[in-house]
């Protein structure tokens, strides 16, 4: 017999009752809880309805973040339920992704949060360094990964305002610090190499804020870092290699020799990484010696496609290919000026029992994709009634665009897989083109003291 270990108060009690032969007696004793007595007290004071805190938490967990914050401020007992929800490590929240962006009009230290559920924009003040001076290279579990003007990386939760410094960029093998006579860090030396080659061009000397555009592509988290227990993996140049760090690490660990990675997905400490050639590799980052396993071999594809890996709500692994109209323009100057648009999204189911290992599917059915510089997400529209089924919500993640053509209009919109048409999410455009906007699943959870200590 299985019992769902949800929010139910008595899940332990029910088991005890089952095990008990004199269970009705026991039930009477076990259920004489404070809650039922207090109800009548509050009714006398005519303070409105009262519910036990864990039920309030269950109700709150169904709210989108702005509603949750408002409800959590209604009265002291509701605030207690809200605070408890925000400090419980594994409380289940079901938040519709929002678009997170910056803009000149809201200032250097604020981020805009556009709620797809409410179709409403909010402004969040976030801690320094000023967010407009950083680049955003990832978004997982309600946290963004940013690179500041010294090209150092941080994790930032824009809702809670919590921030965690990641290991120094100088612990990445291709980067060496350069100090001036006073011993102050002034530049970086960047050497282009991978496990099996080294560039013929000599190492490049870069300003502190320039390195980030040469080095970083995307970053991903294995879990919500508010607990302190997480792994962050980085796809970096040259050649889109992997490095990772565990919560509390002081340096990045390189994962040679493979290159050309485009997207990553974690299942616990198992990392699934897909390459531009469509390969899928699995690394067990929980093991002391990290070994690589090839899940899927090369699949021939066009270089114009970007590739993503995502787990469907049913548990299936999907490989997504995204194409745009870029190849229609050729001059690089032209590229930087003409807006680019996604023209097709292809979905393949990874099925290792089939002959080709990949089975193309025409439709996402009830499902919804979120792709861009965020951890790729696949949600079921039935659980998120504000989202459109068989649509992909896109933000820009092309390396050249995001890191080099910073003023170029971002390829952001809701893409209908039925007719290959892309629509604007909101008009007029709320965001600046750089740092590039990302999808964020808002997460109000605050860091435990243990985690903030590290």
């Amino acid at each position: 017999m299985c019992w769902r270990s949800g929010n139910l108060l008595f899940r332990g009690l029910a088991n005890k009752i089952l095990a008990s032969s004199a269970c009705s007696l026991m039930m009477k004793a076990l259920f004489r809880r404070d809650g039922f007595l207090r109800r009548s007290v509050s009714a006398e004071n005519s303070e409105g309805p009262w519910l036990p805190q864990d039920i309030m938490m269950q109700i709150f967990s169904l709210l989108e973040i702005p509603d949750l914050v408002r409800a959590g401020s209604v009265c002291a007992s509701w605030r207690a339920a809200y605070t408890s929800l925000c400090t419980t490590a594994h409380s289940k929240l079901q938040e519709t992704p929002c678009l997170l962006y910056t803009s000149e009009s809201i200032g250097d230290r604020a981020m805009g949060l556009y709620s797809l559920a409410e179709k409403k924009a909010y402004t969040l003040t976030v801690p320094d360094p000023p967010i407009r001076s950083r680049e955003v290279i990832g978004s997982s579990y309600g946290w963004i990964i940013t690179a500041d003007e010294r090209s150092e990386l941080q994790l930032l939760n824009p809702i809670s305002g919590d921030q965690i410094a990641l290991p120094s960029v100088t612990t990445i093998g291709q980067v060496e610090p350069i100090y001036d006579d006073a011993g102050t860090l002034c530049q970086y030396e960047y050497t282009r190499y991978a496990a099996d080659w080294i560039s013929e061009t000599p190492p490049e000397i870069l300003d502190l804020n320039a390195l980030r555009d040469y080095l970083f592509y995307k970053a991903f988290l294995s879990s919500d870092p508010s607990t302190g227990d997480y792994i962050v993996v980085l796809i970096h140049l040259p050649d889109y290699q992997l490095s990772f760090a565990r919560g509390g690490d002081v340096e990045w660990t390189w994962l040679p020799p493979h290159t050309m990675y485009e997207d990553c997905q974690f299942q616990g400490s198992l990392l699934y990484a897909t390459t531009a050639l469509g390969e899928i590799h699995m690394y067990d980052l929980g093991a002391p010696a990290v070994a690589r396993k090839i899940i899927l071999d090369k699949v021939k594809r066009s270089v114009y496609e970007r590739i993503y890996i995502v787990q469907a709500p049913s548990g299936e692994l999907l490989q997504i290919k995204r194409s745009d109209d870029e190849c229609e323009h050729d001059a690089i100057l032209e590229l930087s000026k003409v807006p680019k648009n996604t023209t097709s999204i292809q979905v393949h189911k990874v099925d290792l029992t089939s002959e080709k290992n990949l089975v193309e599917v025409d439709t996402l059915c009830e499902n919804v994709l979120f792709i861009g510089r965020n951890q790729s997400l696949c949600l079921c529209a039935k659980e998120y009634p504000q989202l459109l089924p068989n649509h992909a919500y896109l933000t820009d993640d092309d390396y050249l665009d995001v890191s080099c053509f910073k003023d170029r209009r971002r390829d952001i919109g809701e893409f209908d897989l039925e007719n290959n048409r892309i629509k604007e999410i909101v008009s007029p455009q709320l965001w600046s083109n750089s740092p590039t906007p990302v999808w964020l699943v808002p997460n109000p959870r605050r860091m435990s003291r243990l985690a903030s200590h590290s």
């Binding site: 029910a14 009752i17 004199a22 009705s24 259920f31 309805p49 401020s73 209604v74």
Partner: protein
């Protein structure tokens, strides 16, 4: 459902007789009796399932001292309606994939069922569902209450639920500063 095998013969006989009945009788705190389908009760309530399996159902009405007659009537009504409705794929899947199953939107009839309730009746039903381990009913009632909070300012929420703002001025200012971003201008 596993039945305790270490019991006396008389009790076994009683259990067999009980198992033959396809309803169980529940008694509210104010002494009213309600009949409910045994199959639906066992399927929808972990506590009733445990009691049925454990043989502690009283033919003359199982005492549920924490639940008033109005809430119990709604519980029984929900069980009977649930027994009659064709379970959708969503409900079936949520009942197998325990831990990972996120909340599934209420069915049309479940919506109607909770929509007709007064605030007091709704809150009583939440507590009854919680007490009886009726996960789906708890989900549906909690969902209804969460719907009543959506898109509202804190003042509007207080009005809907008749809640007194019990903060001091200082506390209120602190909350405003911390959470100002999400407040509607009220």
């Amino acid at each position: 459902m596993e039945v305790d095998k270490g019991k006396g013969e008389a009790e076994e006989t009683r259990k067999v007789a009980e198992a033959d009945r396809d309803t169980v009788t529940l008694k509210s705190s104010d002494g009213k009796l309600f009949e409910v389908s045994k199959e639906a009760a066992a399927r929808l309530s972990t506590v009733l399932a445990g009691m049925i399996a454990g043989g502690s159902i009283d033919d003359n009405g199982t005492d549920l001292k924490q639940i008033g007659s109005e809430a119990l009537e709604n519980v029984v009504d929900y069980c009977n309606k649930h027994a009659n409705s064709i379970p959708s794929a969503a409900l079936i899947s949520s009942s197998i994939s325990f831990n990972t199953a996120p909340f599934k939107e209420p069915e049309e009839w479940e919506r109607k069922f909770v929509d007709r309730l007064s605030h007091d009746a709704l809150f009583d039903l939440v507590e009854a569902a919680n007490f009886l381990g009726m996960e789906r009913l708890l989900d549906v009632t909690c969902h209804k209450i969460s719907e009543m909070m959506k898109g509202k300012s804190p003042d509007q929420i207080r009005e809907v639920f008749n809640i007194k703002n019990d903060y001091t001025k200082e506390e209120l200012e602190e909350i405003r500063q911390e959470l100002a971003w999400a407040f509607y201008d009220d």
